[in-house]
């Protein structure tokens, strides 16, 4: 046993040596919970920041584990970017606590929460009786609206400028350029989309309504976070029978409900990504085009 313990200590020391941090860079170490926020950090922060994204782009950020790698990233962070409004409530508070790094504490200037800066779409959870489902503080999936992302980029620039006044001008300039690109792209893409009705799985893609000529006429989930029930789907079909539209759902959401609607109503069902594959403007612009491609063109 003594031998085993010694060997354990040796292995541990080796693991520590191998994982020692790189020589400190001057860059601000930013941890973003989602790839969309990571995009803002990269685009606004430029070479002044280095960015780590916690949630993989193909995962539901509502439901993740407060895994050790998240705590390790937060331990070394100078700043944390969070979506907020309860999106990460199942795991981020535990990871923040486990990181033992005051810089990522809620309330600090270095903790940037998108949902407390932007106006959010209302959620049906806010009006109905709450049986423990999500979105009680409003719909947190604002990353689906590029106009909100543009505003948030500008807010991030203001925050970065306060934290790092030496580069204030650069932050503002980059956020301005980002906002302009996003607004221009939004305008162009919206022009190419026909007016249409859509059903979405969760209260997330309904943010498309904010910038595209689409009308959300239903959700596959009876309430956010509650899986589709046969009864709810039946009601949807009853309501939408004889009309035209499309069904959109995120790639990590089950296809079953969407396929049911496709069979019953003849509405084409398409799965799309919710987050950019890479946390860059390029990635985000590609995501915007994917959303538009899933809809009927004008």
């Amino acid at each position: 046993m003594r031998f085993m313990r010694n060997r354990g200590v040796g292995a541990l020391a080796l693991a520590l040596l191998l994982s020692l941090p790189l020589p400190a860079l001057a860059a601000l170490n930013i941890v973003a919970t989602t790839a969309s926020l990571g995009m803002l950090a990269n685009e606004v922060g430029g070479e002044q920041v280095s960015v780590t994204v916690l949630a993989a782009p193909d995962r539901d950020a509502h439901y993740l584990d407060a895994r050790p790698s998240f705590m390790a990233a937060l331990r070394r962070a100078d700043m944390l970017l969070e979506v907020g409004a309860g999106l990460e409530e199942g795991w981020l508070p535990a990871a923040q606590r486990g990181a033992a790094n005051p810089a990522v504490n809620s309330g600090r200037e270095t903790h940037f929460v998108g949902a407390s800066i932007l106006p959010l779409r209302r959620s049906i959870t806010m009006d109905g009786p709450n049986v423990g489902h999500v979105h009680a503080e409003g719909n947190p999936h604002f990353n689906v609206d590029p106009m909100r992302m543009a505003s948030l980029g500008e807010a991030l620039a203001r925050r970065l400028a306060r934290l790092d006044p030496a580069h204030a001008e650069a932050y503002h300039a980059r956020a301005g350029a980002l906002a302009e690109t996003l607004r221009e792209q939004t305008r162009q893409l919206a022009e190419g989309v026909a007016e249409q009705r859509i059903v979405v799985y969760h209260e997330d893609l309904d943010y498309l309504e904010e910038w595209l000529p689409v009308e959300v006429v239903g959700y596959l989930e009876p309430a956010p976070g509650i899986p589709p029930s046969a009864r709810h789907l039946g009601e949807l079909v009853g309501k939408l029978q004889g009309t035209e539209g499309r069904v959109l759902y995120a790639s990590f959401q089950p296809a079953k409900g969407a396929e049911f609607l496709q069979r019953q109503l003849g509405w084409p069902a398409t799965s799309v990504a919710l987050e950019p594959q890479t946390p860059t403007l390029e990635g985000y612009l590609a995501l915007m085009r994917d959303w538009v491609d899933a809809l009927d063109a004008r």
Partner: protein, 484 residues
Amino acid sequence: MIKKNVKGTLAGLTTAALIMPTLAMAESGGERDWDIDVSLILEGFYFNEVSSGNQTPAGFSDHDHGHDHGHDHDHSLSDGFNLGHSELVIESRLGDLLDGTLLIGFDEDHIEVEEAYLVTRALPAGFQLKGGKFLSDVGYMNSRHPHDWDFADRPLVNRFLFGDHGLQETGLQASWVAPTRTFTRFGVEVLQGDNGSFNRFMAAGGGHGNGHDHDHGGGHDHGHDHGNGHDHGHDHGGGHDHGHDHGGGHDHGHDHGSGHDHDHDHDHGHGHGGAPYSQQSAPRLFTAFVKTGPDLGPDHALQLGASTGYNRQVSRVEDHGHHAHALEGDAWFAGLDLAYRYDAGRAYGQGDWRVTSEYFHVWRNLDEHVEHGSWEKRESHRERQDGMYLEAVYGVAPRWQAGLRTEALGLTNKVVDFHPTEVESLSTSYRHSAQVTFRPVEPVFLRAQLSQNDFAAAGGERDRGLELMFQVNVALGAHGAHRF
């Protein structure tokens, strides 16, 4: 008019903010300044003992001389409906200086402050201090509450080495998270040592060895008495015959008071006076742990842990009527733990895996004292015991999980027996469990669990028992984030 009112309100808020600067300074983004999260976790059980086997694994009861007396379960469930272990959790923040947690556990007939602690949030460089009453961070399962478990009951190794509530102690913890890419956290704890019994030993300071469980093994029909404050000093009456019958039911009469009465002598019915050793002053229990978890990408997550602990004084007294034996000494433990998670990236946990395993080993260096009128020191002995479990849970369908757990207790099971006094090697006990869990919505789960106990008795014979449990667990209110 309206404007004025708003102004008045703002003025009031400003005053409040000035009076309570710490509370108001925290947020800049317009969020709540003063968070108090309250959650209530309610649990119900339906329990059925399909067939009854040995109640207590050999070497792990406090009166363990070959007989199992009866029909009582050695946990607190009785046949039929039970209010399980429910909790009221209040969590709050003092700015970003401290987190405070109060956790009150209750069941049908007792209520207890299980945890009440503060954790620093403002120390630099990865340091954190925690003080109060809390669950030790040794191992994996010890610091987790029943609501977080994948099975309905506590693993045997945790229960029989650390007590019915695990290693739950009052004291101080200091930890450090290294600034490494691989998550690494070191911690040390200095604990009072009232509950750190390491099996069938009374912690020196009072209270009963196994925390709150006074019900190992058969015989006593008082179910569980949790001694919440008053001096109960039970006689367990005739339940505890040791096989050596000295006539007339020896009272083990452990003093169960865990609250006000700290003046426990080990009160063994026949008044064998005093203890043969001087009591070490508290804190008596010291632990150290390390946890590490590499970054394995979005699909896999792993945490490995190692922990050790030292208890300066453990003791056990056995009253044999006209004479008594006492064992007194110190104890060490060491353990390894592993938690692996696979995230399949599908909705509602389908395809996910959760694998958890722990191994613990305990050593006790004990002096034997014998009393025939007065105490006399005899030989020294070394006891060794261990235990482990391995459990795996798989997301068989959206919102449905199924899991298997296998446990062994006493793979090494060397304990002192009397007449003649020697270190005996007892057999290993096993338990195998299967569970199915359904989560209709996030804060609710329903679970069915089947467990086969294959417990050895001290004499070596084995007896199997089968238990069926249905568990309902509901978390109401602001249920906090789960730790890894």
